[in-house]
């Protein structure tokens, strides 16, 4: 699986707070996503799961706290003993090493499937166009869409679009891939094909941080499960610990509703 990632990297989230006005979305998050492992975040709507992912790739700036990828701070740098904001160009460069898969796919509708996957490596200067297209074909084959490279996104089913979005994220050879409820916008019968692709990534040693409501998927694939509620991590551990023997009553209450 040489097409997967350059090197899997660990993500460290330290004491992250995020608020909009008086509303606290994240309230002191500490989380380690070990390199090459699959961490699944579960929890009720509005618990801050998606915001946590968006803080990791700096689509949202935390009010307090830091995120690092492979030991490198995201969005800030140390300079003469102080933390300084990075320029937008530097932040964009960091983001290109963090894959992000959206709930609504967000493919570029005016580009073909092949160009959707090949665009970013060319635009960021990672690859030249022929190499990027070669890589894109390989990745589309890996997600089972080798024959649809000339189609436009709107001509595909939701499941196919999400698989293209995963190939697009992989094309930058990211150290970690973040999934924001990747199957929530899909018809039930299309969920399986997307989860199968993510499982394939999981077994290939890519660092994955997945926000999902698919408890079965978490049990099967996750190395660690994190339960969030009200902007805090309530408990975390192996799938057996969190899903089968939850210690916290809030976790038990949530699981009793979704299982």
């Amino acid at each position: 699986m040489s097409t997967a990632t350059a090197t899997a990297a660990a993500v460290e989230v330290r004491d992250v707070h995020k608020w909009y006005g008086a509303h606290r979305v994240l309230d002191g998050i500490d989380l380690t996503v070990p390199a090459g492992e699959v961490t699944v975040v579960i929890g009720p709507s509005g618990s801050g799961k998606s915001t946590l992912l968006r803080v990791v790739n700096h689509l949202e700036r935390p009010e307090i706290g830091q995120v690092s990828l492979g030991g490198e701070l995201i969005g800030v740098r140390r300079h003469r003993g102080r933390l300084r904001e990075l320029s937008e160009r530097q932040i964009l460069a960091q983001r290109s090493r963090i894959g992000f898969v959206f709930q609504n796919f967000n493919l570029f509708p005016h580009l073909t499937v092949l160009d959707n996957v090949a665009a970013a490596p060319v635009a960021t200067g990672l690859l030249r166009k022929p190499e990027a297209q070669e890589l894109a074909r390989t990745l589309l084959g890996r997600v089972g869409l080798a024959d649809r490279s000339g189609a436009y996104p709107r001509q595909l089913s939701g499941g196919q679009q999400q698989r293209v979005a995963i190939a697009r994220a992989l094309a930058l050879k990211p150290g970690v891939i973040l999934f924001d409820e990747p199957t929530s916008a899909l018809d039930p019968e299309l969920v399986g094909e997307v989860l199968a692709v993510i499982k394939d990534l999981a077994t290939s040693g890519t660092t994955l941080l997945v926000v999902t409501h698919e408890i079965g998927f978490a049990r099967e694939v996750a190395d660690r499960v994190v339960f969030m509620d009200g902007g805090r991590i309530v408990e975390q551990g192996t799938p057996e610990q969190v899903l089968d023997h939850p210690r916290h009553p809030r976790t038990r209450e949530f699981l009793s509703k979704v299982l």
């Binding site: 689509l59 964009l92 290109s96 963090i98 992000f100 967000n106 635009a123 960021t124 709107r154 930058l172």
Partner: protein, 319 residues
């Protein structure tokens, strides 16, 4: 009442229901309104053709006269320059309006407010008299020494005055058209571009703007057609465009005013028609990917309609 429920014609029992044809519903109302409108159109066409007031022989005489076609070339030149400069200015203004810089946002807003408030003819006359207000234009440190001087009277030919005036005005309207287009692009597209780490310039030029164009084109073509006709105002800054030529010929040959106005009308109609055709194909190009299947070109539609008509005739004659 009960006997009316019994069908007068016995049902066709010789053929199974699935093999029986349904007689299509007739629409006499459609035929009648269609006929009325056609008669009205024919009357108008007849009036146009036979009323000696229009002097079609003089129309023919003037239509391709060099004095008219030279004016047409001026109209085309002024339109082309102003359309391009106006759109570029509009893009810059729209980006300024959407920028995170408060000063740029405010400046853009004030510009649009000002140029939408002042009538175009006033802008043109103002510029025409500009060289009297500012004799030289110089380039240098603001409020400091100047490095470069331009003599205004040499710089500002009538064509330049007209193009600058129209572009300034056009840019204000184009700014709003472009801004609306950019805002119509889904927020998810901005997020996906940012998440992939695409450089800013690439995000705008390759992801957001091509999608915005789909919304921009119909409104901007509207603007453009308005612009073609606004060029007739440059007559007042002593530039002989199509309308200007017609006006001056009209004062020389007062008996030909009506055919001359018809000549101008015909040319403006032709220009607008050409723009509309181009619009169709440009729109079609940029709807690639936005629609599952592209709309048919007029030729494809004509072919489809003809074959549908043929099939219908065959079906109706078969009954």
């Amino acid at each position: 009442m009960s006997e009316t429920l019994v069908p007068v014609v016995p049902p066709d029992t010789t053929r199974p229901l699935s093999a029986q044809r349904v007689v299509p519903l007739r629409h006499p109302g459609r035929w009648i309104t269609g006929a009325v409108v056609l008669v009205l159109v024919a009357q108008i066409a007849h009036g146009l053709a036979t009323n000696p007031f229009y002097q079609w022989d003089r129309f023919q005489y003037w239509f391709l006269r060099p004095v008219i076609t030279n004016g047409l070339v001026v109209t085309l030149e002024v339109t082309a320059y102003s359309a391009v400069l106006g759109l570029l200015g509009g893009i810059v203004l729209a980006l300024a309006r959407l920028s995170r810089n408060l000063v740029l946002r405010a400046a853009s807003w004030v510009y649009v407010w000002l140029f939408r408030s002042v009538p175009l003819i006033v802008v043109l006359l103002f510029l025409y008299n500009f060289s009297a207000l500012y004799r030289t234009v110089s380039l240098g440190v603001p409020f400091g020494p100047a490095f470069w001087h331009f003599d205004e009277s040499k710089l500002a030919t009538d064509l330049v005055v007209a193009v600058v005036g129209l572009s300034l005005n056009e840019a204000a309207y184009a700014a709003e058209v472009v801004r609306a287009g950019i805002l119509s692009v889904d927020q998810g597209q901005h997020e996906a571009s940012a998440a992939l780490g695409l450089p800013r310039r690439y995000q705008f030029a390759r992801i957001v703007f091509p999608q915005a164009l789909r919304a921009i084109i119909p409104s901007y073509v509207n603007q453009l057609i308005g612009l073609v006709k606004s060029t007739s105002l440059v007559f007042y800054v002593s530039l002989l465009d199509l309308f200007g030529s017609v006006q001056s010929m009209g004062s020389t040959y007062p008996g030909d005013i009506v055919p001359l106005l018809l000549v101008a009308t015909a040319w403006y109609v032709i220009l607008t028609s050409v723009i509309s055709v181009v619009q169709f194909y440009v729109e079609r190009h940029y709807s690639r990917g936005a629609l599952r299947t592209l709309p048919p070109t007029p030729l494809q539609r004509l072919r489809a309609n003809l074959s549908a008509l043929r099939a219908r005739v065959r079906r109706e004659t078969a009954i």
